[in-house]
Amino acid sequence: MNKIEKQRYILDFTLSSLLRRKGRNAALVLVYTFIVFLPASVMFFTHAVKREAALVLADAPEIIVQRIVAGRQALVPASYADRIKTIRGVNAVRGRLWGYYFDPVFGGANYTLVVPEYYPYDDGTIAVGSGVAGNSGSGEDNLLVFKAHDGSLKTLRIREVLSSESELVSADLVLMSQHDFRRLFGIQPAYVTDLTVAVRNPAEYVTIADKIAKLLPDTRPIIRDEILRTYDAVFNWRGGILLVVLAGSVAAFVIFAWDRAAGLSAEEKKELGILKAVGWETSDVLMMKLWEGAVISLTAFLTGVLLAYAHVFFGSASLFEPVLKGWSVLYPDIRLTPFVSAPDVAVLFFITVIPYTVATIIPSWRAATIDPDSVMRS
């Protein structure tokens, strides 16, 4: 009880001491909180997106076969499918039809047009993602006009708006029948955009992909693992802007800690002397300084992390919107499921709280070991 009571006394004094310069210390906590808030928000956001990607893309096509001509993606002859079917281990091959449509009418949004294997509605209709519907202010039974490859206009009726709960995969989708797609873009029946390959044994992805590449040298297969790994790597800190944000935070931090470490003012030194003179030991004085650093950093850390959590998972990371939206016209409402990485939070704790606390003690070392005698003679 003795030890705890003593710590509480030291904490009492530390708090009194901090409250003496209310404005300065409040500003310190505020800035520090922000410096924690930013990387914490980024951490929560990117981690949640990655986890969602891993879960949601788990059933993505096993192998995709693209055709590359002069460095660009070109249409794949449907006959390639038959040739791939001959490879041992291949279950099925299907031609995919999909592409992009730039809609100047509604702000210059880009839609991803897809022909699903089973399109349940008639020709002349489409099913759209919630982003498309929202952006064009339309809903079921409304019409959307598309400009075809030959300049003619095609009017398509919206039969269904996909639920916004799947926005992260479907916001910009426009689903239509094969007939409408081919008519819109002028793609002959002999061609498809690319192929998807179903494989019997997942362990064979790489082998079969290699065989496809050998069999059809102008193609490039992509396997499901690579798709998933793409999203593991998205928002990688090494990517330009994230590095800048994090570096900015680290720099601000270092400046803070350096300011602390730069030394104590004459008044602070005198006070430490008085403490020594009235009977505090060097260890007591250092303990006080430790508490000083801890009070500020703990407050800022906890507040920053909590605010970041609220921001990302209750506020849809709205502060990031201008950054993430970039040039996009269609932008999904990012309501992520909270997947939180405790180790990441722990790391953030260690790189923010510990250095700052240490930086508060170090310059005090000298002053704390001062001979109380000198206070008598001041």
Binding site: E271, D373, M376
Partner: protein
């Protein structure tokens, strides 16, 4: 109570600005008495008080406290002895600004980890003793000269030390407050406390409360 033998205190020994503050001082101070060291500034009074109160280590010589030789105690033990035995009143009083008078008075007791309720009670008793209770929860810088003086004395007494050591306690006080101070010293003496005061103020060393006056000059006792 305290006996010092041939104490020398040299600052910056061996360097060009070497300064001999105390040059072979010996004396024996009785418990329960009020002793004043008088002399001009530079005579070594402050240094002597420092050494007597175990705040500074002598360069050479011995200190015996209540029959125990404490000259070569390691710092930790010396600090412990010091805080249990002595209460200090500094020339500038040196209360910490920005915290209340009450907190200032309780400060020296913090490292002992005594329960807050009882510590606060003890402190408030001292405030009452010196008639400054109503100022207890004011910030230290708002106190008047006399109130600061009393708070400083209260602070020196919080750990119930055997002796009070005061360095030029009346230097910043007018005559009336100076006399008040000596009266308070008299009360402490009645309670059996020892007082060791350094002063060149006649109100102090000519006071009836004082039992013994020792003159100092140039680091030696005259």
């Amino acid at each position: 109570m305290i006996e010092i033998n041939n104490i020398r205190k040299v600052y910056n020994a061996g360097v060009h600005n070497e300064y001999v503050a105390l040059d072979g001082v010996s004396c024996s101070l009785e418990a329960g008495k009020v002793t004043v060291f008088k002399g001009p500034s530079g005579s070594g009074k402050t240094t002597l008080l420092s050494v007597l109160g175990c705040m500074a280590r002598p360069t050479s010589g011995r200190i015996v406290l209540s029959g125990r030789d404490i000259t070569s105690l390691p710092e930790r033990f010396r600090t412990d002895v010091r805080r249990r035995t002595f209460g200090f009143i500094f020339q500038q009083f040196n209360l910490i600004k920005g915290i209340t008078a009450l907190e200032n008075v309780m400060l020296p007791a913090y490292p002992f980890g005594e329960r807050r309720a009882s510590l606060e009670k003890r402190a408030l008793l001292l405030f009452e003793l010196f008639s400054i209770t109503r100022r207890a929860r004011e910030k230290a810088e708002l106190l008047s000269g006399g109130e600061i003086q009393r708070a400083a004395i209260a602070r020196a007494l919080i750990n119930d030390p055997k002796a009070i050591i005061a360095d030029e306690p009346t230097a910043h006080l007018d005559s009336s407050l100076s006399r008040d101070f000596m009266e308070l010293v008299g009360r402490l003496k009645q309670e059996g406390k020892t007082a060791i005061i350094a002063s060149h103020d006649p109100i102090v060393y000519e006071s009836g409360v004082v039992d013994r006056v020792i003159s100092m000059r140039d680091g030696r006792i005259e």
